[in-house]
């Protein structure tokens, strides 16, 4: 297919060509950035919490007298364990996707000079390691003797389990077992490494620090009360949680059940990512509408051009051009216009990305989005022009003898 005659023809329709290319450029820029936003959000919602979410639920109590918390623990732990279907009950300070409780800055020296980041401490009763379903990748499982009584939010001197991500951050390239870190006067020694354990409220340092958690076994007591981890068979879990919440009225009449945080981990996760999913949905809707409008624009203009050139098409057919020649003429024309639009669109896409990076803490648009965006616009363009191009191909050679109109 010769390109020169097509370019010559497009020159006669400079305005319409430029408009179409401009529309495609804008569509390309918005498409690339919107896809990028969607994918980063979707990735975010697929985070591995590292715990057995389908079998876990939390019950959180508030409003009780702190002086009675030891008694409360005893009542709730024994009361909930009696419920049918409950496999285990443990006291814990926080659960993934719930409110955060033990968030603190840590250092890798006792003097606190080498600040190493802000992490979340999961402090749980002796059975909580097993109940959470944490996966050990190095070291040993916590023993009963590791669970210590608490005077503050963590024990003063404890053996702890850190995630692989945190271990890699604190001691890159070395064996983390037996390593130490500090938070103020509290001292910790690593007893094992976990595959994953997402921090409760996502983490303030962004997606890269979502796994910066420390698991600390401890004994229930004054400083560790009020939040309970229920373990049950996944099919039984909703009923068990309902029963547990109802049972609180008699087990702990003095406390208020925190409804927002007393949910299955599945529900907590769902709530936690709802805004992200919604925004992805909106972006997806915009992309669809955008591609539709662009396609409609192409159909409209191409139909007009076909109509306008019926006579010329007839002449070409009469001079020996085949139907497929005519078809590929319009397809090539569309390809050229879309190409022009895409070149401009890529520049625009990066400009918009730069703008977004300034205002929304977004990373740079990866380069591979551009060919994908370009490809989808080529496909849309070709599909949109197919109808009008087929109509053009169907113009009979006799049209050459008719006058325009």
């Amino acid at each position: 297919m010769q390109i020169q005659p097509i370019i010559a023809a497009l020159r006669k329709h400079r305005l319409a060509t430029v408009l179409l290319a401009l529309e495609i450029a804008l569509a390309c820029a918005v498409l690339c950035n919107a896809c990028f936003l969607i994918i980063s959000r979707v990735q975010h919602t697929h985070v591995d919490s590292g715990v057995d979410e389908s079998a876990l639920a939390a019950v959180k109590l508030t409003g009780y007298d702190p002086a009675s918390s030891v008694d409360l623990n005893a009542r709730v732990l024994s009361g909930l364990a009696k419920l049918p279907g409950v496999q285990s009950v443990n006291v814990i300070n926080a659960v993934p996707f719930g409110d955060h409780a033990g968030t603190a800055g840590i250092s890798t020296d006792a003097a606190g000079k080498h600040f190493a980041g802000i992490v979340d401490f999961y402090v749980g009763g002796p059975g909580s390691f097993k109940a959470l379903g944490l996966k050990l990748v190095a070291g040993s499982l916590p023993m009963a003797s590791d669970a210590q009584p608490l005077d503050s939010f963590v024990p003063e001197n404890a053996t702890v389990w850190v995630t692989r991500a945190l271990a890699d951050h604190l001691w890159p390239g070395t064996d983390p077992l037996g390593k130490e870190f500090w938070t103020d006067k509290f001292h910790f020694r690593v007893g094992g490494v976990l595959a994953h354990l997402a921090r409760p409220w996502g983490g303030e340092g962004g997606p890269s620090t979502i796994d910066w958690s420390v698991y600390v076994p401890a004994q229930a007591g004054r400083q560790l009360a009020g939040t309970y981890l229920l373990h049950a068979a996944p099919t039984e879990l909703p009923r068990v949680l309902r029963d547990a919440r109802a049972a609180m009225a008699s087990i702990a009449p003095d406390a208020v059940v925190d409804s927002k945080n007393s949910q299955t981990l599945g529900t907590l996760r769902e709530t936690y990512f709802r805004q992200d999913r919604l925004m992805s949905g909106i972006l997806l809707g915009v992309i669809c509408a955008l591609l539709l409008v662009t396609a409609l624009g192409i159909v409209g203009l191409a139909s007009f051009w076909v109509q306008q050139r019926r006579r010329q098409i007839g002449v070409r057919r009469a001079l020996g051009a085949t139907r497929s020649d005519i078809l590929s003429y319009f397809q090539t024309e569309n390809f050229l216009i879309v190409s022009g639009g895409i070149v401009l669109g890529m520049v625009l896409a990066f400009a918009i990305n730069l703008l977004l990076m300034q205002h929304y803490e977004l990373p740079r648009l990866p380069l591979y989005y551009l060919p994908i965006g370009a490809l989808s616009l080529y496909v849309i363009g070709q599909l949109a022009v197919l109808g009008p191009a087929l109509r053009a191909a169907a113009v009979p050679p006799v049209e050459a003898t008719r006058s325009v109109g």
Partner: protein
């Protein structure tokens, strides 16, 4: 003449139904998306107290150490220690002044078989209601003497009064808050300024329902009510005793009626910081006194997602407008002969231009109507969002009118180029071709 153009335009639009539908649909989608996001943006960046916001100011001082301090760049802290808040409050340098912190209040209904529940509470001082023009249904606020004597009094919101007392006058009755008895002195009318400017940075939500209970700060603290947001800057000996701990947890608002008063207050704050540095309590000299709207801007209270959506919607509208330009251009070029005939029969360039602009305007009007429908649908969708502002998203009269302004302006801009092309068309070749 206009009626004639209208008739011509309608006839031309009818002649090519598919193209017309495409234009109206695209424009409607673009306008619908824009109006939906703009309505939300307007709602979220609104003025919570339009009649008073220019006189309300938020003093800021900074008790933090010099660690990480960069001169001219580090902004003063957004909340205060108890000591500073009380010093500034008791200085009485403004017409009205109140300090406040958000809290969760455990409320136990007096009736049998009811469970205690948590509601949003505000711990504040007596001037709160007068300064913010909070309207009372029954009774009124408490006095400064009540503040100082830690009187167990409480002001409750209309919805709590409806829930606990079926809307009757409950002034004088007792409310059990955090296991202590408080005497109700006032019941508010519906009061929920949006954004919830006074809850900002104190651990409260930025949008949504109003607070249920308002208690004198010291009385609430005596009943062990905790502050919603505590930020400590030194070794803490006793976190329970927030009044003496090196922690910031209180916000303060002042009413200053004119420019001179604002200048005086700024000088007073700067002087206060200097004095505290001399005493060794402060290290950083910076202070700030933003007014209400500036404070909301500083806090970036409008969620990023909402701004992103608005930007996206405008990008979309732009694409729709370009699309309409292309289609209108195609339509008008197709009618070259008609234009040629009209020109030959004496129509001026100006009348041809007007005729095509009227046609574009009609497309805009139809697009606006369709856009309104899409916007209502979009807002319906937003009301089902989990966001805290969701329930507030409704199309008001201004946005209703604005929809048509956007629609007409967008379509007229889209129509300019095609109409210009139509009117500069030389009539002779067109007549010859036919």
């Amino acid at each position: 003449m206009f009626a004639y153009y209208l008739e011509l335009a309608l006839r031309s639009l009818k002649r090519n139904k598919v193209l017309t539908t495409l234009m109206v649909l695209a424009l409607g989608l673009g306008i619908g998306a824009c109006i939906t996001t703009l309505t939300v943006l307007k709602l979220l960046s609104g003025d919570p107290l339009p009649q008073k916001s220019a006189q309300l100011f938020y003093p800021q001082v900074d008790p933090f150490s010099m660690d990480g301090y960069v001169e001219g760049e580090t902004k003063p802290q957004t909340t205060m220690t108890y000591t500073d808040a009380m010093n500034l409050l008791h200085a009485r340098k403004a017409t009205h002044q109140a300090v406040m912190a958000m809290t969760g209040a455990k409320i136990a209904p007096a009736r049998a078989n009811t469970h205690p529940f948590y509601s949003d509470g505000v711990m504040t001082t007596s001037d709160f209601f007068g300064m913010f023009d909070a309207p009372f249904q029954y009774g009124g606020g408490w006095t400064e003497a009540d503040d100082e004597s830690r009187a167990r009094v409480v002001v409750i919101a209309d919805f709590l009064n409806d829930k606990l007392f079926e809307g009757a006058n409950s002034v004088g009755k007792t409310l059990r808050v955090n296991d202590h008895d408080f005497r109700i002195v006032g019941v508010l009318k519906h009061w929920a300024p949006q954004p919830r400017f006074y809850a900002q940075d104190l651990g409260g939500r930025s949008y949504g329902d109003g607070d249920a209970v308002f208690l004198p700060l010291q009385s609430a603290r005596a009943a062990d009510m905790a502050a919603g947001n505590t930020n400590c800057f030194d070794v803490i000996k006793d976190i329970k005793n927030l009044e003496t701990a090196p922690c910031i947890w209180l916000g303060m608002w002042v009413q200053l009626d004119n420019g001179a008063a604002v200048a005086d207050y700024k000088a007073f704050l700067a002087n206060y910081a200097r004095q505290q540095i001399a005493l060794g309590r402060f290290h950083r000299p910076d202070t700030a006194l933003p007014d209400l709207m500036q404070w909301l801007r500083d806090e970036q209270v409008v969620p990023d997602d909402v701004r992103l959506q608005a930007g996206l919607a405008f990008g979309f509208l732009l694409i729709c407008v370009i699309n309409t330009v292309g289609l209108l251009l195609a339509k008008c070029l197709r009618r070259s002969q008609e234009i040629g005939v009209r020109r030959a029969l004496g129509a001026t360039q100006r009348t041809i231009f007007a005729q095509f602009m009227v046609e574009a305007g009609i497309v805009g009007l139809a697009g606006g109507l369709l856009g309104l429908l899409f916007a209502e649908l979009g807002l319906l969708g937003i009301r089902h969002q989990p966001a805290e502002y969701a329930g507030l998203a409704r199309l008001d009269l201004t946005m209703f009118a604005f929809t048509f302004v956007v629609a007409i302006v967008a379509s007229l801009i889209a129509g300019l180029l095609p109409a210009w092309r139509a009117c500069v068309l030389a009539p002779a070749p067109q007549l010859k071709a036919s």
